[in-house]
């Protein structure tokens, strides 16, 4: 059984939040790995294959924004769909992420875990993005 198409990397520095997301996605049948900062996420991306990256924005060290850019700059990672999960709400410039960084979706916290699962599954189904 291959997990291809179902591998999700969660990048989240808040442990409680990371736990509940992992719980939710695993319950939905996805293979989930968690990175607690951008730097470790980057090294995990280099080492393993993932089908979707779910990331926070405000993190110490490498922010979600930087992680995105680095991914888009790397040919091997450029096609992986990215979903942003952030505390920033109405003040966020969604256009920048959706357009410029080819992010698939931007979800604001607080969020509904059910909704999260739906969006993740949707974009996993879509597959690779063309940046």
């Amino acid at each position: 059984m291959t997990d291809k198409g179902r591998r999700v990397l969660i990048v989240e520095d808040d442990t409680a939040m990371a736990y509940v997301i992992r719980f939710t996605l695993q319950r939905a049948g996805l293979r989930v790995k968690v990175a607690d900062c951008g730097k470790s996420a980057w090294s995990m991306l280099k080492d393993e294959d993932f089908d979707l990256v779910l990331t926070d924005l405000l993190m110490p060290g490498m922010t979600g924004d930087e992680l995105c850019r680095n991914m888009r700059a790397d040919p091997g990672l450029a096609a992986i769909p990215v979903v942003i999960l952030t505390v920033k709400g109405f003040e966020l410039d969604r256009g920048h992420y959706l357009r410029d960084l080819c992010v698939s979706a931007v979800i604001s916290k607080p969020f509904s875990p059910q909704e999260l699962v739906r969006i993740v599954e949707q974009h996993l189904a879509v597959g690779a993005v063309s940046p």
Binding site: D14, A16, V20, F23, T24, P60, V87, P110
Partner: protein
Amino acid sequence: MPGGTSHLELPRRVAAFYWMFSLAAVAALGAGVVIGAASALESQTDTKCLRNLGEAADAVRAAIRNRSDLQPVVEQVRASRHLKYCALVSNEGRYVAHTSPDLAGRRREVPTGEVVSWGGVQRTRYRGPDSQVLREYQTSLTLDGETWGTLLIAAPDPGRWASVTAAAAYLPAPLFCSVVLLLAIGTVVLRRTVRPMAQVEKQLRDAALVPAVCGSGLQPIDVPGPAAVGWDRLVALLRDGERREDLDSRLSHALEKYRSQKSEQILNTLPDGIAVTAEDGRISFANKALVGLLGTGASGRDLCGMTMEQCLAAESAGATAGQLFDAGLSKRALVVQLCRSGVTSEGTLRVARLPLRRPGSEDNGGHLWCVRDITQQRLADQMRDQFVNAATHELRTPLANIKAYAETLATGEVTEVEEQKAFCNTIDEEVTRLARFVDDLLHLCQMEVGATSLKRQVTDMERLFHELVNKVRLQMKQKDISFKVNLPGKLPELVVDKEKLTVALVNLLGNAAKYTPEGGQVRLNVETKDKENLLKIEVEDTGIGISAEEQGAIFTKFFRSSDPRVHEQPGSGLGLSLTAEIVRLHGGNLKVRSELNKGSTFTVNLPLCCGESKCSSVQPRVSST
């Protein structure tokens, strides 16, 4: 036209003209008199000669009747009448008798000259043989109706001069002298009349030589007469006007000077640097603040004469600075932020430049510069932005967690009871976390408004500390921190705001827990110092410590250290400022001692109030931020 030195004064000129015309009149009169006298003399001479001629004719006729010799008759006539000659000419034209004997019997030569006739008499004026001008009168001699011949008498012509001298002889000397006297008197009177005008004319002529008419150059004239009075009044008016003008101009100068001094004074009190540059970019005015901002620390450094480029270039470089000195943009008003990275100072300057126009034209008349140090403001803005980010995070993260966990529980996804409990606990923790942050925010609002006040009550300090310890024990345990508490045997009762003091101390302990890595140590030491009337509360940790540069800043609002280990921990940057404010309101002080990577010790000293009465008189100070 202003004449040279050959120009005569007015009185002399008038006198000259007067004399000229008077003499001309006198001369004309004299000439008239002479001419009149001459003609009178002439007619007198004629009358005399005609009478002589008549009498001679009678004598000759008498002689002819008497058949006497005519020669002695004519001679007698000549002698008695003082004639030149007397003669008798026959009808044939031969001298019958002549006083010049050699002419007797000779033919008469009719003299040629001017002839005038009166009836039967004719007068001829001619030049005689000895070049003397003679008048010859002739008449035909009739006797008994018969023309006998022509009688001639001649007398010397008196000549022109004779008439003049005769006329002169007629003019008596006194008359002449009185005329001269009158002329002299007239001159004197004229001069006197003319004198005021003379002085005026002289002054006006002098004024004409001077390039600018100056009233003080004109003098009043001390001569009686209305003209002089009028002139004096005019001069006085002129001088008055000048004085007033002078006064006006001095007044306006003084006023201008005062205003500009006042303006300079005002400009020098402004905290912003103001400068005015000329078209060439050189500073013509710089106020004190500018010298302080741009003068490299040297007091009283004179910026005038330097260009703004020189002054600013020393501080910064880059595209924004380039904008200010781009000639193409010199007519535009610009506001630019320059970052200083000089040796003596760091920070940001806001430079505003306004083009000045020369009055009445579109030409470049230099620039007006306003330089403000906005380093503090930017720092404050930065910290506020940091705070807003932190606040966003601190509010929404717990909410997100609460929602996620609650919803997951509600869907029944969590089947195991232990896990359910764990989920609920997480919710509980997040709520606590959120509540704490909301409290921080509220305290911030209070501090901003200046409404922080203490509700002091008699408080059992031992109880306070025990509750305090309970609040933070879990946090300490979670990080496996060894938490030791040292309380003195007997803690006094203090009149304090229990709630706020707890908040303050929880902050300190919470920080100690946050910034101490796992397995570290935190100590709470409480000591009463009766001699100094203090209650000393010390929170000591073996945490990441605070760098020496930051130790001064940690008590400022929103300040969060740039240490990445600090950033990892959630925090609003308000805790320490709140603690410091609460301690201050209690009349105490808050100090820190720290070494990077070794740990920190925060010390709170609270005054021990002795007795309620004393403490109730303490008025909470309204904090002004």
